[in-house]
Symmetry: C2
Subunit: 225 residues, 2 copies
DNA sequence: CCGGATCCGTAACGATACTG
DNA sequence: CAGTATCGTTACGGATCCGG
């Protein structure tokens, strides 16, 4: 029980009464990638501990940010998903991601615990809606042991964990270092394809190039601060 | 020293490494209202304690979010202000305020520690830019013992603590309960004026009405969730 | 008085072990 | 798989004290 609230008559303070505890916003971040089971969240945030994850999920459920839902795969049980109200956090959190991008370098980092879907999620915040005004495409990416998908459409790139439930336009596979090379612009998609660093499982090369044209990291100095 | 970082390769986690500690975002909120001195911030966040405020400000300075600046009023000394990089937090925080508005009721609340400028700041996030496309006006409000000003222009309402440094279009004075009645729509500005609940120090009544037409609280059920 | 630094009791955190 | 219980460590909240 988080009886430690700010108790101020201010929407920011009220929001932080719900979200301000350690780990809480990262739990929401995980659920921005799609519904997840208790154990899945814990795998992504191992230092959190089962106890705290349990507490945080209960608090988020109490505040109508998260709800339990029953799932059947891989086994029968419950999963946690954002409510429509919780989905309202996507905008503030992605704005925060855009700000945090200036604190983030993807070069010379330890990749042992890195996750491509988090990199993709962060970069999706940098995409200018005007650039994808009339684009609509669904991608599936298999990066190392991860599988996630990205839908480009309606002025946004939306990243979700796991394989796509519907047929995708393009499906590709690569390693995490290759993925990083692509988003850093050090490797071109077509070049990586011809070198066998990227395997095109389905779809055409043109659409693949377009995805990595959007998901490009630019260092802070080159962006508006 | 907050040596307790998430250490994830993710801009959200990196942002929270800087901002995620308790009180930190509320310190930034205070500075969104303008530069403040150490003691001023502490007065607004008394439960924080001097040592934590000191630590947080140091961490924010280290990360180029906040900078010290020398001031001469009321006495010679230093104040803390957001850097341009820190100003970049205005958008995410105000988006969070908009979300937190659904958790906030301004009715039947304890007003002993309430601050009108925080209410105004929160409501400024709800203003539709389209409504103030070609408006440009500067207001000074004296609510109880507080003085703050609000500039309506360039598609946004910007609230800052203290009196305006430049001449204002409208200056008014009222009590906090009256201010709340105005933003709740329970009292009309013209009506409050004629009853003497609001004192028009300078400027015309029409512009005053416009301000409180913008700064209106609508309960969550009436807004998009 | 302002801008802190030091100290202490309490609550939260991080990790592990244990249970239905 | 999904938690609960426990425990040592760390941070928080509050008060006091220090140097300019």
């Amino acid at each position: 029980m988080s009886t430690r609230t700010y108790g101020q008559l201010c929407p920011i303070a009220r929001a932080l009464d719900v979200l301000g505890d350690r780990w809480t916003l990262l739990v929401v971040r995980e659920l921005l990638l799609g519904e997840k089971r208790f154990g899945e969240i814990l795998t992504m945030l191992p230092a959190m501990g089962t106890n705290r994850l349990s507490n945080r999920l209960a608090l988020l459920c109490d505040n109508n940010v998260v709800e339990k839902m029953s799932v059947t795969t891989p086994a029968s049980g419950v999963a946690y998903a954002l409510t429509p109200f919780g989905e309202g956090l996507r905008k503030p959190i992605m704005d925060l991601a855009l700000w945090g991008m200036s604190l983030t370098s993807y070069e010379n980092e330890d990749l042992t615990a890195a996750r491509a879907e988090l990199i993709a999620l962060g970069l999706s915040a940098t995409v200018d809606p005007a650039r994808i005004q009339n684009v609509d495409a669904l991608y599936e990416l298999q990066v190392g042991a991860e599988t996630f998908h990205a839908r480009v459409g309606q002025g946004a790139v939306r990243v979700r964990s796991g394989p796509s439930a519907t047929p995708v336009d393009v499906a590709v596979r690569c390693t995490l270092p290759v993925f990083l090379g692509l988003v850093l612009g050090k490797v071109k998609a077509l070049q990586a394809l011809s070198q066998g660093k990227v395997q095109l499982i389905s779809g055409d090369r043109q659409k693949l190039t377009r995805l990595f044209g959007l998901l490009q990291y630019r260092p802070a100095s080159a962006r508006a601060v």
